[in-house]
């Protein structure tokens, strides 16, 4: 059965390693914070200037001066630090953040990503996404395998304006975990109960399928 958003977040959380600084994008990526594995300590960076971001505040304790990059009211963990936007992107560009998780509209088998603009529609801007994807060594995309029209978002080539080129290493969708290498998608895991055939049929890009594809362990 295909995963829901929390399932995707839960699977991505398994990628976390102790001691990592992690930047989570808006949407599904934000949910990853709810599933940090036992015994693992990670620190969340928010690009508007927080290291050590904590959970939402209790009602009545919201501070308008303390928000995350999604403009949501948040709190600080013990040992947090606040900094300006230039320092924040120094961390990102300088590869001090070990993992970036973000959403996408399209991903290509070359690791290109498109997630900021649909020509002819309202354009909201790339925010920090271009800096994040151009800089991070370790980028995981959290996305649905297909769009609302049922068309694959896992493509040979992106059709939308790019956010970054050759940067995505791993994609987690509601049905599969894919790795990108040598210009191809590689099927690593399937969602519980989802068949390899379904994944193949929903993937437009070139997909390498090993003989045995394990189910995700959630």
């Amino acid at each position: 059965m295909a995963l829901d958003k929390n399932g995707i977040a839960k699977r991505i959380a398994q990628e976390l390693q102790d001691g990592w600084y992690v930047n989570l994008g808006i949407g599904i990526p934000t949910l990853v914070a709810n599933y940090i594995p036992e015994g693992i300590e990670v620190e969340f960076q928010s690009e508007n200037g927080i290291l050590g971001m904590g959970p939402f505040p209790f009602e009545g304790e919201e501070d308008p001066d303390l928000i995350n990059a999604g403009k949501q009211t948040v709190t600080l963990r013990k040992g947090a630090a606040i900094f300006d936007s230039a320092t924040s992107f120094a961390m990102i560009r300088g590869k001090h953040v070990q993992l970036t998780v973000l959403g996408a509209m399209e991903v290509s088998q070359d690791g290109d990503i498109a997630n900021w603009k649909i020509p002819g529609k309202m354009v909201k801007g790339m925010g920090g996404a271009m800096d994040l994807v151009a800089s991070a060594d370790n980028i995981i995309v959290a996305m649905m395998h297909s769009n609302k029209a049922g068309e694959s978002k896992i493509l040979k080539k992106c059709t939308l304006p790019l956010t970054g080129v050759g940067c995505v290493k791993k994609v987690v969708t509601e049905i599969a975990v894919l790795e990108i290498k040598d210009g191809k998608f590689h099927l690593i895991e399937r969602a519980p109960g989802v068949s390899v055939e379904e994944i193949v049929s929903k993937t437009e890009g070139e997909l390498v399928v090993p003989d045995f594809v394990p189910e995700m362990q959630l």
């Binding site: 990059a69 230039a86 992107f89 790339m126 920090g128 800096d131």
Partner: protein
Amino acid sequence: MNKVVKNVEEALQGIEDNMTIMLGGFGLCGIPENSINRLVKMGVKNLTCISNNAGVDDFGLGLLLQTRQIKKMISSYVGENDEFERQMLSGELEVDLIPQGSLAERCRAGGAGIPAFFTPAGYGTEVAEGKEVRVFNGKPHILESALTADFAIVKAWKGDTEGNLVYKSTARNFNPMMAMAGKITIAEVEELVPAGELDPNFIHTPGIFVQRIFQGEKFEKRIEQRTVRQRG
């Protein structure tokens, strides 16, 4: 060096039509509310505004969009704003979208006398169009130029009479770099204190970057996304 001006009226003197203005803030957090309200009253037109976001319909820079005082926005993320969308799609408003980190670094560069620098952000995308590409350590980078403004308007928590500023929490965001990059920098603060009250060791923006400072009359500090969790 006393930088104090009486009020927002005096602080914003000299801002004219067609000028470029930087405004600090991220979303509605840390924006110079009093100065934006004053710009609406002044009615200056054809402004180019450099600000990470464009406010919402009835708060922040959205107010200057309602009155059509902005000719061009230079930002990393806009929207959350119907009037903005209408003006942009109809072509009334020019919009220059810049990766957030490049925006921050370009403002810092403008204030720091660095005319240009290389960054990997935007390589291979339309942001790179017309820009020089150079490979460093096997990775392509694009050349980005410095940004400056006729006026930079920033919002701080506390400021002293010498223009030294301290920001509160994530209301810091773009304010320190923009303070550096204004030909004239105006700081509106929640609390104006005498010189010597701020610890020299913990000042976020040294007064040298600030030409005018005043205590804002009222800060609404609207929250854009109120998110909370349940107790226990």
